[in-house]
Symmetry: D2
Subunit: 337 residues, 4 copies
């Protein structure tokens, strides 16, 4: 009779091939009994049949309410693979029972930060705008656009949010010697100062920033935080890099500020996708760089999800705490409900 713990592997909408290097799947199988493991939706009946033996459950397409958790006495880990904690889990029960709820969000940090830097540089240096002129055949040689162009060196930069995405961005900004202001009401100012940044309130940050990175995790409190009124505080021709999430911005107000020539924007996240409003005015705004939600689009990085999952389960199987995935915390458990 096996004493190896049972891992219920049900990552659909993602595929196994997408998030696991074969060597990581082998590694997982070396210390656990992997069940289900199919590239299709897990039926509720199947879930209910497998939960009583499950030690870890990867994939969270079905609600994990108190009743269901009660049927899973061996459960120690619940791991989501989309990139954020779903509201469908009964977190309080998990905390009380010592079940780790883990998110794969950290797998995306590096490449999203890279895209944010790419957008800031492309915007500041007019790379996309002049490329479009070149395509039209009316490029202007060796011309600067003092009103719009700027380098990141010594720049006044604002970070809206100082979580893991900002932590990934900071080392990329470091060589530019920017003056970085931060608004993050969830963190003590000392933590921001320790990283060489200046904690400020929202208005002061906006008024001072030539480049604003929108990096905060969405919560009910920060919906449309960047309203028309707040956007008006930014300096003329400032660049807004909108990378996570459209939720944080009044998107129509941002569009108006960009089309009117007040602001520039580089946008990776939109209020809706597939299709995004076909005739939306942001589509033709000269001062906009448009990216169809591709900040976390690299295949290589999606296999980082699988690596982190197996790394942490390997630790937990040995009685050690997880170290790579994001751990749900009691204080945040219902923020997205």
């Amino acid at each position: 009779m096996s004493t190896r713990p049972t891992v219920l592997l049900a990552p659909h909408f993602r595929t196994l091939e997408e998030i696991f290097d074969p060597r990581d799947l082998e590694r997982l199988a070396s210390f656990s009994e992997v069940v289900w493991a199919r590239d299709e939706p897990l039926p509720e009946a199947e879930l209910d049949a497998l939960l009583p033996e499950a030690w870890a459950y990867i994939g969270t397409s079905q609600p994990l309410d108190a009743a269901r958790l009660a049927t899973a006495p061996k459960l120690r880990a619940v791991i989501e693979v989309a990139g954020g904690f779903p509201p469908s889990i009964d977190y309080q029960t998990c905390f009380a029972r010592g079940i780790r709820v883990l998110s794969c969000a950290p797998a995306f940090g590096a490449q999203v930060a890279e895209m944010a830097l790419a957008m800031a540089l492309a915007g500041g240096r007019g790379l996309v705008r002049e490329h479009e002129a070149f395509r039209r055949g009316d490029e202007a040689w060796q011309v600067d656009r003092p009103a719009w162009d700027s380098t990141l060196f010594g720049q006044q930069v604002g970070l809206l949010g100082f979580g893991s995405l900002a932590q990934n961005l900071l080392p990329l900004l470091a060589p530019f010697g920017c003056h970085i202001r931060v608004f993050d009401p969830w963190l003590p100012p000392t933590l921001i100062e320790e990283k060489g940044c200046q904690p400020t309130d929202l208005d002061d940050m906006l008024a001072a920033s030539r480049v604003l990175f929108v990096l905060a995790t969405p919560t009910p409190e920060n919906r449309a935080l960047l309203s028309a009124e707040k956007l008006a505080l930014l300096p003329d021709s400032a660049l807004v890099v909108l990378i996570s999430r459209a939720h944080l911005v009044d998107f129509e107000a941002l569009t108006e500020a960009v089309t009117s020539g007040k602001l520039q924007a580089a946008i990776d996240v939109f209020p809706s996708e597939e299709p995004f409003t076909p005739n939306h005015p942001i589509r033709t705004a000269a001062n906009a760089i448009l990216s169809p939600h591709r900040a976390a689009s690299s295949k290589k990085e999606r296999r980082e999800i699988g690596r982190m999952v197996v790394d942490d389960l390997e630790l937990m199987e040995r009685g050690l705490p997880p170290r790579r995935l994001q751990v749900a915390e009691p204080e945040h458990s219902d923020e997205e409900a």
Copy 2:
């Protein structure tokens, strides 16, 4: 009778306002007698009249041959403000007489390196290509293009040239943890290793590089160094960042490699400008990012030229060596002749 040295200020084609912050001009006037100082071409007769008293000559629109230098017994500094040592100076005479010949090229290093990074990131992450799709209304959401997309993190990078431009680029690349191969036959391998890079020959560098930065100073020896044969050594879908100079590349071969789908390219320097061939096939190549020679286009940085000029003249007036502009070296003096 004044003992202050005479500075002949004749920067035309640049304007005084363009390269000097007013405070730097004041600073210059505080320790020297500034003459000419007009935004127009310096007539030869005027030059000949002013040289006998000149201690420094800023701007090099007229040839400085041995005969002319013989009329300038007080001359200690010749400073060009275009960005490279002109062949119209008799360097050997300057060296023999201890006249410093100085170039403003270092004023451009930071912003050119920034543009090189912007191009590498925009190319690697498909930023321009997907933006164009977005403009056309056929953007694909959350899609990766495994053949073309790549992050800089841990990337195989090649540097063709390891001079001051590469020195400016290295700190910007540092946070990405790239494996950097370098081909620079003018430098000892130890110097390259000291910077954490791997010295290689040209072919090995090309064969290994997913991103190739072309950074070398043009010389007679490296004209069209990147021939069709050499470009063929690059891995499929590698990205060529051509930032200095078109001289180094067989431009038609590069165009062919890009239009055929073998390579990507981000190009800031072209074989000709204003106008660049209207129907050149690179203009419509899907895998190309096109920039009309704008890597050094920021106004803020051009005033860095003036700051460096006055910094160094201030030092020289005190009997100290220049420290900010690039100093012509005997061994390189005729390379561009």
Copy 3:
């Protein structure tokens, strides 16, 4: 009737003045009701009287067993100020009830890492040994001792333990370009590789390291992990920097290796203190640098404890998770019992 939470402040053996800047105490009082707050031991009766109202308890001189925790229904935070999680707390009850158990250990990380670097440099460069010769009047000028002296540049370094202390040390070592091997069985190898280090097993790390930093947290499993047999694996004249804790080393075996001339050691932690064995042979070992447990001795840093405590309570009072102190984790809760 006040709705402000009650903070039971009982940090003795530390003093209030020692760990709190007055501004941090004011800050604490601005959002909470601070009780006790005396520089003397908290009597058990007093503790029992105050616990029923306590929201946070700073200082853990008395056991917090299940019975006592049952009398504290409002308790959300237990904060120790010595520098490690005490075994006298019923962690499982705390986890089940969502009570945060927090340690001030992170307040010491920076200065302990600094001392570790100081010891490694002083040892490697013979600073203490030659100073002692100078005091005796028999200093040797400009002499190197090839067998003993070494620089950190490019050095083979081993880290026994890769926790928060190692994280503080890594940036200090970064400019030296060391090759760093790490043994830490609690962490996934990927996490070590991400930081640019090489995960190895213990024997391989020891065999390769010219400088070994002993940084691990003591656990029952790692007592005397560095036995005579393991120390023998180190290269001749390697330097052992013993900074946390003597627990990890067979101290007599280390002493023998140092007095016999096999190894060098820089030691901040000893098997006992005040008094440490008066005639212990390590006291006169020529190859030893001796420090009476002073790695965390700076007053400025002890006030960092108070700052972190108030920072985290401020967050928790707003319903946010703590961010500065170390949070006890379920998997580690009984390791030191």
Copy 4:
């Protein structure tokens, strides 16, 4: 008949084995004719016999005046291997003829900077003082000495001199986040600001610095620059790290400041050596760390001299400028005469 250039190798007082890795000597012989190459003084007659064919002369024990240089028509490089430009060379003739005069000083930069950091940390953290107490058996456990101890983190630091030694030290200080003031009258303030430091005058730097690094090259102007009056400007219990050279300090005034308890000092360079005054009061000063001129004492680094010499001659043989050794500049040529 060979066309390989002749290299006159006469490094005595150093030995060939000391400064050359055998592979570097082989490399030198691969492109040049090496003559003399003995570990003994080069007689003047021998020098005069060899100079007419010499292309490079390594070692400068004999004066190279104008008459002698006139006998060496093929000479292109004069390389000293002690660590500083000797006054016995006719620099003006060398400059006029395009002969490179090169110094091996850069070979020492890294290890001297490391020693400077070692001394600053050992001094700031009381490492040597408490070790001495430990040796005496009266160590005090876990005690801080607020008046004397300090960490480098966030410290007020002064650099007297911002040449190549300071450039080697800056990256080692970077992780500590010090506020660095610099006094260097040979450099433009912009150059100091670019490195993230604050240019100041001497008095302001002294008044603000808790740790002062004395790094300047000796010149006639800076002899005993740190007089009793200047030392009195330093804050009480500041630490003076004297690493290059005693020349810059009124050594008796420094001794008085240290023995009186006003200052701490860590000293690697003394007014005289072998023997240094046997009963000099600095020998017993409690606040002094004494090092018998060992900052550049590592054998490994002395072979860096040979590597740099061969690297640069290899370049010069190909018509390229030297890149590793320090190049004598016209403006500095007679400063040490």
